[in-house]
Amino acid sequence: MRSPLLALVFACGCTPPKPDVTDVHLAEPAPGTGFQLKVPAFSVPSGTEIQACYFFNIPGAAGSDVWVDHYEIAQTTGSHHMNIFRVTGAATNLKPNADGSPVVNGECFVSSNWSQWPLVVNSQQDDTTDWKLPDGVGARFKAGDLIMLQTHYVNATTQRTPATAKVLVNFDFPKTTPTNELSTLFATNQNIRVCPGESDKSFTKTCQFKAQGVHVIAANGHFHSRGTLFQMMPVDAQGVAGDVFYTSTVWDDPPMTRNIDVKLPDNGGVEWKCTFAAPTGSCGNPMDSCCFTFGGHVDTQEHCNAFVYYWGATLTAQDIACF
């Protein structure tokens, strides 16, 4: 996830660069204690980016509850993001290939295909992310549920993949059935536009929850190289924002804030703010004054996406007003 720019920063005596992660290993959970999703190593040719969608079924006796309270995620350097979604609702153009092969680019790059699929877990960091949910909290699945793992690797101007792409994810079972169900919010602000020469250009949105007792326990934000500051904060029902609970100033290795417990005001929600700067001379869309607008292509487009994990209320998408 890191940029070669880090080397320059290090030369100035500031932050030492993390070494590239050229391979990852993650022991599979012992039988009966969890399962592993595997994305085998693949190459990302120089000057390209690959977004691939892999489909899996939750293992177990059909229809039985499958609880997960611990995620372990391992990725090599070059991963721009890894998102896992539950495949639900109406059919879209993104579906498993009959031969089990992944969907590469194409429909895997069309965000409307999964816009209504609930997020399971995401990571934007290379190496290993180990996330044990708070005691008594777990994500509930049904055996046989279809999930989609989307991995995006970049080997281009603003981000590089020094070795091969590879992703491993462990879903670990709890020892006892959790009493609180983990829920997620994946929110995108799609009408953003940043033009060369602009700085401190911010975009802010809110998602209001029709619920009480919501506890936010983790969050991370996602934007591309024009992003300078990503913030999230609670808002009350009137729209008054509280203290920032998530901050990121690193676009290519954004932190995932965990081990927080932010209780949202009743019928309040989450506000997220992305701030951008586009250098003079940079170019996003040559047909639009070289401005950068919403899209998944790292070098020429921008994102302002919020990932929020919470418990305390089991909500449908209709209970969260974002868009």
């Binding site: 953003i192 975009f203 802010t204 029709k210 729209g239 919403f294």
Partner: protein, 188 residues
């Protein structure tokens, strides 16, 4: 940076009006296409438009004076008139253009006006045809701020084509669900 003497990266501001007077703001709306803006008053019918991101929004701009308009923050809020609760919010830094009347106005395009998301309507009151409170707040870099609110009526833009008119009527009606409008525009 050190060699340059730690220069202030903030570019000089562009003050419009009289700094001794309190900031003022008026609310404007645009259809996102015509590149024109119209004033909003109590009772104004505000057209809902289909934006690039899906759903429907109202594009709310501002006319302002007596503040610094450089990279000014424009924030639009939709509220329930009964409870005052926030239903939707969008804030963004905007480019403003100074008119001959001494007021600065947001550029009348979709990226410089607040995209206040009105639909899908997950609540139990129809957005289409419904009366709501719209707020516009402007804030400059020195935190000078002004706010205006109006009770307005939301409508589907009469200029929408038949498909988007039907879609607007459906997704902007109360209690939207994901499968509610899938057959809009489809001959059954």
């Amino acid at each position: 940076v050190l060699g340059a003497g730690c220069t202030d990266p903030v570019p000089p501001g562009k003050f419009v009006g009289d700094p001794k007077l309190p900031p003022e703001v008026q609310m404007l709306f645009t259809d996102g296409v015509s590149l024109t803006q119209s004033p909003v008053a109590d009772g104004t019918e505000i057209p809902m438009e289909n934006p690039p991101q899906g759903g429907f929004v109202v594009y709310i701009g501002a006319a302002a004076r007596n503040l610094d308009i450089y990279n000014i923050l424009v924030a639009g809020t939709l509220r329930d008139p009964a409870s005052g609760s926030e239903l939707a919010f969008d804030a963004r830094n905007s480019t403003m253009v100074v008119g001959s009347d001494g007021w600065a106005r947001t550029a009348a395009d979709v990226s410089n006006t607040a995209n206040v998301n009105t639909c899908p309507d997950y609540f139990d009151k129809d957005r289409v045809g419904g009366e709501f409170i719209l707020e516009m707040r402007v804030t400059d870099r020195a935190r000078r701020t002004a706010m205006v609110s109006h009770r307005v009526k939301l409508i589907c833009d009469p200029a929408l084509n038949p498909f988007f008119t039907a879609l607007c009527q459906c997704v902007c009606s109360a209690n939207y669900t994901f499968d509610k409008c899938q057959n809009v525009g489809v001959d059954m």
